[in-house]
């Protein structure tokens, strides 16, 4: 397999960045990893995962949709879309890589969301196999192998080198473009490292989490469960879980009056918010119980019902780490599980 020594990775970054924007996880001042546009001096982070998920690349927090100019009774509609330039994301973990497909199901199904598609088509995703999973990881519950993250190019480290393997045509093109820096390498150490990681994955505290009690056919019984009241009672109704989630895909469309025109933009929205479903005449989800239930039912029942049984969660563990009151999908699943 083709490889590059870890200490030489900056050379590869420099080569890639000559032609396209390159984003890599890098530690910020608080010691947390964030995707950062590579330039001389930006260092690749060894952190397990980034604070915010990689969905931002394809589904950013806010994005302008269309502009309007108003004059008297007339409206001018201005299409502001532009072709995105090619870019590369390096170091995407298996969970985030899977989340792209969960978003694809929604945004690339008819009618295709051209804003999303534009960015998705111009991106090359280079994944990175996990070697040090955390206690909050539970991707295996959703059939994800953290040592085989997929993407256009799959990358893994044996501690001294990064190994590259193309998974798609786009990936092949990427490897060709950097082949001058790569050399053939023996994968014995890599296989060893992966085997070790798998051992740890099996020992993780959430390794036993099961999805068997969930899915499209459990809709009515799960919806009517009496556990929701207790689970949702301390929920603050903030959007932290939604906004750090790599698979949450709901959005709001809003207009902003700039004083010389109207900008219509969309931004992330959360089903945890009280005005998410509020209409002039009332609200079908009146209390936090219904809103809380919606979020987890969507991930565990509604999404699989619409997309061939695929769950709308990838087990990245961000909500476990970030919820202000430590209520999360794992606790919900454990509480609702039928043993």
């Amino acid at each position: 397999m083709l490889k590059i020594a870890i200490e030489k990775i900056d050379e590869l970054f420099a080569l890639v960045a000559q032609n396209q924007a390159l984003y890599i996880p890098s530690d910020n001042k608080d010691g947390a990893a964030e995707y950062t546009r590579w330039s001389e001096g930006v260092k690749y982070s060894n952190a397990l995962n980034t604070l915010r998920s990689a969905k931002d690349f394809f589904f950013p927090q806010t994005e302008d949709l269309v502009d309007f100019k108003m004059s008297g009774k007339n409206i001018e509609i201005i299409d502001i879309r532009k072709e995105t330039e090619d870019f590369v994301i390096f170091g995407v973990r298996a969970c985030d890589a899977k989340s792209f497909f969960i978003l694809d199901n929604v945004y690339l199904s008819e009618p295709v969301d051209s804003y999303y598609k534009n960015r998705r088509e111009h991106a090359t995703v280079i994944t990175m196999a996990c070697s040090k999973p955390s206690e909050t990881c539970f991707c295996s519950a959703f059939g994800i192998d953290a040592t085989q993250p997929g993407g256009d190019v799959e990358c893994a480290s044996d501690g001294t080198s990064f190994f590259f393997e193309a998974k798609t045509e786009k990936g092949k093109a990427f490897i060709d473009s950097v082949s001058s820096l790569l050399s053939d390498g023996d994968t014995a150490e890599l296989d060893n490292a992966k085997a070790k990681t798998k051992e740890i994955l099996a020992k993780l505290p959430l390794a036993e989490l099961s999805t068997e009690s969930f899915g499209a056919d459990k809709l009515t019984e799960l919806f009517n469960s009496d556990k929701w009241a207790g689970l949702s009672e301390s929920c603050l109704a903030c959007g932290t879980c939604t906004f750090v989630c790599p698979t949450c895909q709901c959005y709001d469309i809003k207009d902003f009056d700039t004083g010389h025109g109207i900008k219509r933009y969309r931004c992330w929205d959360s089903c945890m918010y009280s005005d998410f479903t509020k209409m002039a005449h009332g609200n079908p989800r009146l209390t936090q119980l219904e809103r809380f239930r919606q979020r987890f039912m969507h991930k565990l029942v509604y999404y699989p019902a619409n997309y061939d049984g695929v769950f709308g969660c990838v087990g990245c563990g961000r909500c476990l780490a970030k919820c202000p009151i430590s209520m999360n999908i794992v606790k919900v699943m454990k509480a609702l599980e039928v043993k």
Binding site: F256, T258, G259, H260, K263
Partner: protein
């Protein structure tokens, strides 16, 4: 301090004026034919304490380069104590804006009575000059509202 970006820069100033004193003061400066720059936009409010901190921020968002609040002199409030409350609020707000690195000369409170037409015009001229020196508002600007 910011360097003047453009020599011909004419700052947009929003002046919140209380109905009972400062607005009448502005009126008087007009009837006395005292000059103050045309780009001072006056917004009449029932009392200086009607001005919510949000009004100040929104004025900056929508393109103001400086915001000034004018009310009755302390002790003269039509509603007895409104301007005392406004005074505390604005002190804290301006201090916070300063804390966030927004130039302190972009905000100001001045007490102008109905008889002080001359003071109103002088205050505005002075304020416009000081904002002019700062250049356009960039630190508390909404880029979407910038005129291309």
């Amino acid at each position: 301090m910011q360097v003047n970006e453009n020599k011909d820069f004419e700052p947009v100033i929003v002046a919140f004026c209380c109905n009972w004193c400062s607005y009448a003061g502005a009126d008087l400066s007009g009837t006395n034919r005292l000059n103050y720059p045309a780009n001072v936009k006056i917004i009449r409010v029932p009392c200086s304490c009607r001005v919510n901190p949000m009004f100040i921020l929104r004025a900056f968002q929508k393109g103001a380069d400086g915001v000034i609040l004018c009310g009755c002199h302390p002790g003269d409030c039509h509603y007895t104590s409104g301007n005392y409350y406004a005074r505390r609020r604005m002190t804290l707000l301006f201090s916070m804006l300063d804390f966030l690195g927004i130039e302190r000369d972009r905000t100001r409170v001045e007490w102008v009575s109905a008889a002080e037409g001359a003071k109103f015009a002088a205050t505005m001229n002075e304020f416009v000059e000081s904002v002019k020196k700062l250049g356009p508002n960039r630190r508390l600007e909404d880029l979407r509202c910038r005129k291309q």
